[in-house]
Symmetry: C2
Subunit: 345 residues, 2 copies
């Protein structure tokens, strides 16, 4: 008898061999909804917005590549500018993963910069870096809000059923957005989960510190970081960092190469001097558009404005596929991972 053992995550189809216990019939799983999405619901990611980070091969000699999607305007564009500049100056080549703190972050940068376990001199920074203010952790999105209000009005008029993401706000009609412990409003903006602190036209928006998001290490305020030190979230979303630090992208391939690294034994998960051999070398970081055309990876994401995405989010909030007996009735914004897929050449 073959069994499910534990339900598939949203990102993975529950595909079990034929010898399995007969699977009860039910509604499609979120992954099945995504798999059936029409081509038109997918949006290509520009090669200029992809970073290809090559780590040293693993202990078995297998290559390790991580692909990061940079966040588009209006978010964090000063830091994104710097990151492309670091990559093009080949400044990231030869740095390493210096910190892995369980249920928090994996962080990479110059092992001799601001590292309690540093043994050498820090690498000089390239010319042309921008310096950002703390105000740039957030953005106004007035045009988008106007568009959303119009859409909501239309949906109300049509009495259309669209998903309740966070049903804590029990509005008379369901809508795309919700609220949570960290934000008065959470929503999706052009493929990214965003959160707002204000109300109405005073809203300021920030990207959310979900699993796999990439951010910029910084010093104490008013320092905002340059992009020389980057980290990715490897545990439960540390959303208290939203509006306190710049988010610049997300890992869209190879996340396991960063999340499964040994945890550091030093303060904050830094590898100690005795553990220096555990620092994973970063061989190269390239903007995909700078690679020869044949080597450029191609990715696309499921449009968060599409009907498919609405059904996907609804299915996550109300799992009706066979494993589940009690649908949750809601979902945390970080559990509604925007589907991203690699496109064959």
């Amino acid at each position: 008898m073959r069994t499910a053992l534990l339900a598939a995550s949203a990102a993975l189809a529950l595909t079990l061999p034929a010898a399995a216990q007969e699977e009860p019939k039910g509604a499609p799983a979120p992954s099945e909804i995504v798999a059936a999405a029409p081509k038109a619901d997918w949006t290509a990611i520009a090669a200029e917005d992809l970073l290809v980070m090559t780590l040293a091969p693993d202990a078995d000699g297998k290559p390790r590549t991580v692909v990061i999607q940079l966040i588009p305007a209006p978010f964090s564009q000063g830091w994104v500018h710097n990151i492309r500049l670091f990559a093009r100056a080949k400044w990231y080549d030869g740095i390493s993963v210096n910190r892995v703190q369980d249920n928090y972050v994996t962080q990479w940068g110059d092992p001799n910069y601001d590292n309690p376990e540093a043994t050498g001199k820090p690498k000089p920074l390239p010319e042309g870096l921008k310096v950002m203010t703390e105000g740039e952790y957030t953005s106004h999105l007035t045009e988008w809000q106007a568009r959303n209000r119009q859409r909501e009005k239309e949906q109300q008029d049509r009495s259309q059923t669209i998903p309740i993401i966070a049903p804590v706000v029990r509005d008379p009609y369901p809508k795309w957005h919700g609220s949570d412990a960290y934000a008065s409003w959470v929503d999706f903006y052009d493929g990214w989960a965003v959160a707002s602190a204000g109300q109405g036209w005073e809203q300021i928006w920030s990207p959310t510190h979900c699993y796999g998001m990439v951010g910029v290490g910084r010093n104490y305020s008013p320092d905002t970081g340059s992009g020389a030190e980057l980290y990715t979230v490897i545990g439960h979303a540390p959303r208290h960092l939203d509006r306190n630090i710049a988010l610049v992208g997300r890992v869209i391939e190879g996340m396991e190469h960063l999340s499964s690294l040994p945890r550091g034994k030093g303060d904050l998960g830094f590898y100690t001097a005795e553990e220096a051999a555990k620092r994973t070398p970063i061989l190269t970081v390239r903007v995909a558009s700078d690679l020869p055309a044949a080597q450029q990876p191609r990715f696309e994401y499921l449009s968060t404005e599409s009907e498919t995405f609405a059904r996907y989010a609804d299915a996550i909030a109300n799992r009706r596929d066979p494993f589940f007996i009690t649908p949750a009735g809601g979902a945390d914004i970080c559990n509604i991972k925007v589907p991203v897929r690699r496109v064959a050449d």
Copy 2:
């Protein structure tokens, strides 16, 4: 210049060397509040409620031990009975970690039971296992609710400031509990984060699928699992599993030995037959009270009814320590990790 790079997690003090950039003065970090807790705020965990799981040594020959705290009554006690029975029958000795799915779970059990990659016959189960119903995924806590109501009334009378965990519910007075996308009520019950689906006296409570929680793999409904297959959460809390599966405890030491394992390439993160060498062997699992007294680990948790815990939760929801410029004003229940510490002999 020495810097913070990225703020410490709640669980780890921000202790940096003296050469650091001068740290701005601020309110204590959550970890500092916990470190200053009076002894009376800590509650001992009974040795009968601790499982000591010894994995095979790592690639460097270093021992790997994981300690799990079993959940107390009224939650999941049928499964907890079974788990002690499996341990005492030494049934778990020689099983392995068979599945590691990124941002989801690490799962261990008999590699020949319900594993798409099985090559041998499953191990016979011990005698005396209980069979539970789905109704046992949740519990009524009427006595506790009455106690809470009395406490709230007193607090209202004293106009005392206590933390807002999820400020989405903007009550006229702050209180301990909150609500989120998954539950009408989230709170702490005798050291555990719990969530409720109902309202008032109709409330049914379940433990929450936070990072490090341990649950029971199961087949399709109406199967509820025996405890032979266990998993722990290694990513963002899959709270949609609450009320759908039995939670039986949490990892309180050695979590990194389960979270940093290589991810499986098979369906649902199972190791494929070609990856069989990656299955981490579990040498032994013992109930701590069965060990010789000198080998029994001793742990205690910070009482969730203590004043210290209230200040700790408040400090997590409103980070005022120096790294932060914008306190969140709230916190997800899974980011308010109940502090647990090892006690010296």
